[in-house]
């Protein structure tokens, strides 16, 4: 009767596909493929009590003051402007192409690939806002300031290598960053004109 070996019956595997499909659909639904994007910034380290005096030593011509008030009005370098003018204004300030007396001082600096360049090394853009300013307006200003730097860097990269800044290699990018260092200071806001 029990002749030969008993064969183990195959496990019916036709449903593994269904199981896998279920899992697949679960992951499809829970996946969020969106990549987060944003404006990357670096905050200054917390202030020391002893350091406080140093920060005031920046010369007036080296500072571009940008104010935002509680009604989202923009003031830049002492006059009211609109957000669309800000980018050009910032670019002119950072690069100082005509060696204007009222724009930042230039210093000689040796930079790889470029040799001796005149750089507005000590410039600072000081961005100040009110506690009542909306976040939207603040980001718009930040965006245009960063955009001004990016534009200048791109222009220089095109001039020198015929490529955009993003396509340069690391050393080249570093050289360009030395010519146009990003200096945006975010001062603590004051409570001008906020209703009490």
């Amino acid at each position: 009767m029990a002749n030969g070996k008993r064969k183990v019956p195959d496990i019916n595997s036709s449903s593994t596909a269904d199981i896998a499909f279920l899992l697949l659909i679960f992951f499809l639904i829970t996946t969020s493929m969106d990549t987060d994007r944003g404006l990357a910034r670096r905050l200054p380290p917390p202030p020391d009590k002893e350091q406080k005096d140093q920060s005031d030593k920046v010369k007036e011509r080296n500072v571009l003051e940008v104010f935002l008030n509680k009604d989202d009005q923009l003031m830049c370098g002492g006059e009211y402007i609109t957000i669309t003018q800000l980018r050009d204004k910032a670019k002119e300030f950072i690069a100082n192409p005509y060696n204007d007396e009222t724009k930042p001082e230039k210093y000689d600096k040796d930079i790889p690939f470029f040799g001796n360049m005149k750089v507005t090394e000590k410039h600072v853009i000081s961005l100040r806002c009110d506690r009542g300013t909306t976040y939207k307006a603040y980001i718009a200003v930040q965006n245009d300031l960063v955009g001004a730097y990016n534009d200048l860097r791109d222009e220089l990269a095109q001039q020198k290598w015929g490529k955009s800044y993003a396509n340069l290699d690391e050393d080249q990018q570093k050289a360009i960053r030395e010519i146009y260092p990003q200096k945006i200071s975010e001062a603590e806001p004051k409570k001008y004109g906020e209703k009490k």
């Binding site: 899992l23 829970t30 905050l43 930040q142």
Partner: protein, 154 residues
């Protein structure tokens, strides 16, 4: 002509589906790898502002999120319309941010700690006062790399 056996209908041979599970499994693995599950349930509503000069946020495991916005509809009755901060799964005050960030950093690997980024997801109509308070708290916690979350504008 008995050569060809024409008795019975020709049947279509069944398609061999034994490799179907393998195909599905490869797809499954792909999605398992690219998936990042949302860990928190949002209790605030926010619509991030638009900007053009954006950078991608890399290495999700090194990023800590802080959400700011109006409470969602179910909490609005209790909390009103004032902007609130959300850390992890609960509302928080500005004073709690410093401890939270330090705690988050301590849970990272040591070599990753300097790379830590804080992503601020803030509603576009929020007042800057609350954002500045957060920034001050982050400075005190030495979490200096921040990222203002925004959407690309065409």
């Amino acid at each position: 002509m008995g050569k060809f056996n024409k008795t019975g209908k020709r049947e279509m041979p069944a398609l061999n589906t034994s490799s179907l599970p393998d195909l599905i499994f490869t797809l499954l693995f792909f999605f398992m790898i690219v998936t990042t599950m949302r860990e928190v349930t949002l209790k605030v509503e926010f619509k991030v502002p638009q900007a053009t000069e954006l950078e991608k946020l890399e290495k999700k495991s090194l990023v800590t999120f802080i959400y700011v916005g109006k409470p969602t509809a179910e909490f609005r009755k209790k909390l009103g319309n004032e902007s609130r901060i959300q850390l992890n799964d609960s509302y928080a005050e500005v004073a709690e941010i410093q401890d939270y960030v330090i705690g988050e950093r301590a849970s990272m690997r040591e070599e990753d700690q300097p790379q830590m980024t804080v992503s601020l997801k803030v509603d576009q109509d929020t007042k800057m006062g609350i954002v500045t308070d957060i920034k001050e708290a982050l400075r005190k916690a030495y979490a200096l790399k921040i990222n203002y979350s925004a959407q690309p504008r065409q």
